[in-house]
Amino acid sequence: MYRYDSYDQKLVDERVAQFRDQTRRFLAGQIPDEEFRALRLRNGLYIQRFAPMLRVAIPYGLLASRQLRMLAHIAREYDKGFGHFTTRQNIQYNWPQLERVPDILADLASVQMHAIQTSGNCIRNITSDHLAGAARDELVDPRPYCELTRQWATFHPEFNWLPRKFKIAFSATTTDRAATQVHDIGVHIVRNAAGELGYTIYVGGGLGRMPMLGHPIREFLPELDLLSYLEAVLRVYNRLGRRDNIHRARIKILVKEMGPAKFTELVEAEWTQIRDSELRLDAQDIESMKSHFDEHPYEPGAADDTSFAAHLRQDSAFAAFAKRNVKDHRVDGYKIVFVSLKPRNGVPGDASAEQLDILADLAERYSFGEARATHDQNLVLAEVRQSDVYAVWQALRQYDLATPNIGLLTDMICCPGLDYCSLANAGSIGVAQDITDRFESLDYLYDIGDIKIKMSGCMNGCGHHTVGHIGILGVDKHGEEWYQVTLGGSAEDDASLGDRTGPAISRADIAEAVERIIAVYMQQRHSEDESFLQCYRRVGMAPFKARIYAEDGVSA
């Protein structure tokens, strides 16, 4: 994985010193609240409902064992013993003390981590496919391009005070696992007809209160022109993005109001001016970045193992785990192991210090010292020899990390909601638990199959509800928590925004509503090969709506 050289380290250390000084001046009354807010957000620090919250960057979701151990240490030393993985592959701590945040940042810097630009109206953490480098279906490993982009975006002097936050995601596969079309910029790494590597650039996607899918503004951008093109997009946005209304300030609104064609024209005109500047990459830049993500020394005989198959036959619990949580690695004899952070009665995405430590050990022992965070709020040990999967599973099981539910209904995306977040209108963690309670039977969950429920406690949409197959959005109605439901969203290659079922549903009835939606699907589907999403797209809203709001039904 990418390791800092002395320059990267120096910049991060200087940032810690800068924020320490800013914190000191704030506490001494020398920086106004509102301005310190903007500065602390650029260092990941929020002031939440009950306490500050610190969001730590995990660039494109990749973590080394020693970094996992540091995350565990921070959870113990500065928090209440756990952290929360987010839908942007970051981790959040909900109980740090403001005065101690500079110390946390210094601890993070000691393992080449930081919280830079994890919030604020600037370019945020670059996200990507959590299976990058291990997936069978990828064209190239997207991470070198992500890291080049991360460095370009870090402390970019011109784009630190944008109209609004700005998120960039990369994908290099035909099955988009990074939700790129709901990002401000989605970069698809592709090859053109001539076989040259490059990118398709999508701009203007986003969730929140006006969800939109990105527009492809450039079909093919040559490989070396990545940064100049991103700079052109950002410059047009910084100059022309709306600043009069925070709800109209994302780039998606600029693209929409101006029209994608006109927007594209401006970007292309700007790009022409800067294409041949020092922003242009050279082959050496790319090669040396790629060398940071070199192949692991995979064992040639790994595929000869027969124990994996034998364990599958002999141990049905292991077989259940393997069915949902283990995927093929691009190298024969290796497997990708998903660590579920969605146990029964747990908070989706939470991991305790003890669990983080164990994962650090397992990664070190079995996965070349690396783990990944997914945008579905799980973790992955992506490079496990198949002969080791059984041992990994046994260890995971001891620490409640082996729930065999990846991609199933109980593998819900869920924001922190009203329990923590000061923006939230309604709780989401409790709803997730109520829904999980209704689907206790693993057999039934398997029968339902692949389905993505995504839930947000407010329309900012951190829980990606608009692209959930079933989306749940918490709203406040006269001081009570209600929930709007959408069906048919997707963040993958067939990206679409969900359709509203009808009036919002009460807190007491929301789990019932989900159960009914599933019942309709089970009744309507042609066979178990027809997924929920396919079924919904075929039969439409009517049967679902009729059942959800039937008179014996839920109060809406």
Partner: protein
């Protein structure tokens, strides 16, 4: 009393801000005028013998400005709110696209210690500090970082160049 930081040091501000409806000074001095006035009264301003600098709103499209602006000794960019970063792009375009070599000055709510180095990096070289600012803190903050990932309009060493030269000597 406003403080001007120029080349990292407190300096005297020679310019007088001239409102659009204020008469031209009788004897030659240094003034700043709005872009509008500069465009409409070009001849009178030239005839006055005064040193004339131009104030630009942050909504002005730099690429549409006339070449004659390049002869201005100073251009003042306005930061009307702490978090409004439009003038950052203006400064870069002035330097890089138009090749402007005169002084670029920042004035307004964002001209505080915590933004100065960013402003300097995009080519701003004079700062009218916001009134609550301590000039020593501000001058120090101009040097918070001593290298940078991106090329811009400043002389900070670039990480990419440093890497290339280290790998060349290796």
């Amino acid at each position: 009393m406003t403080i001007l930081l120029l080349d990292g040091r407190v300096a005297a501000d020679e310019y007088l801000e001239l409102a659009d409806d204020a008469p031209l000074p009788a004897s030659p001095v240094a003034v700043t005028v709005s872009l509008q006035r500069w465009q409409h009264e070009a001849n009178a301003l030239a005839a006055s013998g005064s040193k004339v600098a131009v104030r630009l709103a942050n909504t002005v499209d730099i690429t549409t400005l006339p070449d004659s602006l390049l002869a201005c000794p100073m251009i003042e960019l306005l930061f009307p709110a702490f978090a409004d970063g439009r003038a950052y792009s203006q400064a870069r375009l002035l330097r890089e696209r138009l090749g402007y070599h005169g002084q670029i000055r920042a004035r307004g709510s964002a001209v505080v210690a915590d933004q100065l180095q960013g402003m300097a990096r995009v080519g701003i070289d004079a700062f009218v500090l916001r009134e609550d600012q301590n000039p020593e803190t501000a001058a120090r903050a101009l040097h918070g970082f001593d290298l940078a990932y991106q090329g811009a309009c400043d002389t900070l060493p670039r990480v990419r160049q440093l890497r290339r030269s280290t790998s060349a000597t290796r």
